[in-house]
Amino acid sequence: MTDISRRDFLKGLAVGGTLGYFAMAGVSSTVMKNAFLPPPKVGAVEIGECKSVKATVISETSWFNNSLLMGDMQKAGGLLVNQYEIPWTNTGVQEGWKGDNAGGYSTLIEVEQLDGKKRKFLLDTGWNVDWTDTCFQREGIDKMLSNKEIEFLFVTHEHFDHYWGVEATLKYYPDIPVIVPKGFYPEGFELLKGAEFTKCHLANKVPHTGPLEVRDSSKVHPVIPGVASITFDVPIITRVFGEQALVFNVKDKGLVVITGCCHMGIITLMEYVRETIKGGDNIYAIQGGLHISPFEDWDPQYDDLVLAIHKYGIQKMGCNHCTGYVTAEKMIAVNLPLVRGTAQNKSKRDIYLGNGDFLMI
């Protein structure tokens, strides 16, 4: 009895093992993948063309002391805690702005159309209102807003360092059209209307009176000829959800992608552009935060990115902010075309584009 069942068993094991082997080999083989997975798509959406695009870094120093910022998150309970619930340190920070650890992220975009007409938009609006306002004055943004030269505010995502300084913009142009990605929480909309959140030391004293548009991920949204926006349904730290980016088609150069934090990942973004937008196989330049090691933390996944990004043939990489210095050093080490900055206006190093630096394509 035992012998028979043992023989049966071994036979079963042999059959099972062989089947298992073929299942594994089959499932992982390219033949199976080709049979079951659709072929990669080629971008078809036309976004038009523009002559040039210039991105000026108004501020990329989102905060001034990294370990203080991490300490705030740690004390509040880590990376998943709602950003409106965290008592961010806003006094007594030596390297901060007037003692406040908050800085912010904001970029001015200038597009020259094929007919020579210049168009201006604001991408993100910082965190610390006082700091953002100071940067605005340094770059002349205050005047551009007051005389409505800047056409709209494009908020990449709801993060504190990109959105909470909205008062700095509204102060000069309260009815500015605002575009946000789908995924904003009620607090985000309340802030726009002029709310105060005491726990996280946040307030907006100038209620927004202009049009507000929420963009979802269902399609490529046209902006002006040669410019479009794309949205990603992406969960982000501190309970944020959704991020959008801008894509430009610069005549004779190729596509240019400008991001805020790029929480969706720069490669995911480029793959999406390639599959969706006409000309997406030629991404000429990227600019913005590439959200790799914002807190100078690391994950071997980021090395995967540094090692894989050269396949995309980008000619110019303007990055800063949450890209992280470690990432920048690693990118330079593998000869990626990083554009250097000048380390002014409280940007600490010239390894990438800092406050007041610009990228012109």
Binding site: F9, G77, L80, E85, I267, D297
Partner: protein
Amino acid sequence: MNHKEYLWLETRQFQSRIKQPLQGIVNFLLVTAAFLICWRFFMDPRGTMRWYTPQYGYMYIRWILIVAIWQAYIFNFWPLRYSFMEKTHPLIKGAVLIGINFAVVGFMIWVFYYNFLGRLAIPYMSWPVLTSLGMTEFFAREYSSLALLMMAAIASWLSPIWPVCFENYPWDKLERPSRGLTVWAWTFFLATYIFLILMHPHYNVLFYPWQKFAAAFPWWQNFAHTLSGNFNVGWVMCGTISVWILEVTFERYPFCLIKKQPLRGIAGFFGVLIFALVMFVTFNFLQDLAWGPAVEGAKRLYAPDWRYLHSGELACMLLIPVLVLGFYFDNWPRKFAPSVNIAVRCLIILVSAAVLHYLYYKFSPPLLGTQPGYSHPQQFPMAPVILWVTIMLYHNWFMDLYPGKKLTSREQYLLAPDLVVNKA
């Protein structure tokens, strides 16, 4: 005469206090409520302790699990007396055993790793040491937690293999505590050794600059298309789940048909490994079907390493119905031939796991304080799922499935008071 000490768990005989299926439903609801309360108190980012930062809390969850396995399967509840196990009210017994569990976890993490191994051997196993070396405290804690939780994960795959597949061979004739100590030392040695192969290279590339003289380069990069140790996390999780499917759903079938050791153990070990790898590859492929192939260097849904991790997470979701069916519904059905019973159970488990997967991603944000979406880089469905699992194990192993069931007398097993159980 084949004289050996049984696992206390195997000798238990139950009486129902409540009729099925009400019994199962009541017990399951109680355990789920306990899980939600514990999650809210210790882990939830909106709760009291907020340990789910995420790695720090996740580490404690993995450790209470492995220590529970040690207590029940390796040490056979030593140093507690069998008469205590037998006669104490389940709630008091549960409190004592959970108290021991927490104390051992605290000792292992705070004394053994943070202040002994971390200081004298491997800095990344101790966040106080990493912090003193100049690392931001938050990441020091997260990185070291990842290392320690992987230690526990590998141990919870290997440790049960000895009692389940090898029946503690070649130490099966030993009694408490010698057998427990020996099997513990052996499986813990194996786990440490395998940790060095599967996870230590991850730490080569985690630090800047790369620590190439101290750890091997991630050897899996060429075929896994990532440097991240998540590749190993994924399949090790599938391995852990496979052991428990073999133990609970398959009731050690068909390996129990092999009477001789170590043949049975070896067949069981490789059987589990093959089953785990097939599961891993299948889950990876299902994700390719759902979202398209992973892209090297991408993040989130398209990151190869996240896909591997998610395969492990999917495997974890299988474990919930495995245990619920096994613990609370008497592993229904039992009336057919073993292979038919197992096939029906597998079907129930697959369907329930799919339902659970859907419900988890729909309701975990309001219920557990997690964030919506599949691929949040800072959250791991494994953490709540394993906490839920561990509480089910506490309930079964430490509290004899109170209040749905109660222990009956086991006089036929107890020949010598409080010691040896004889095989008939």
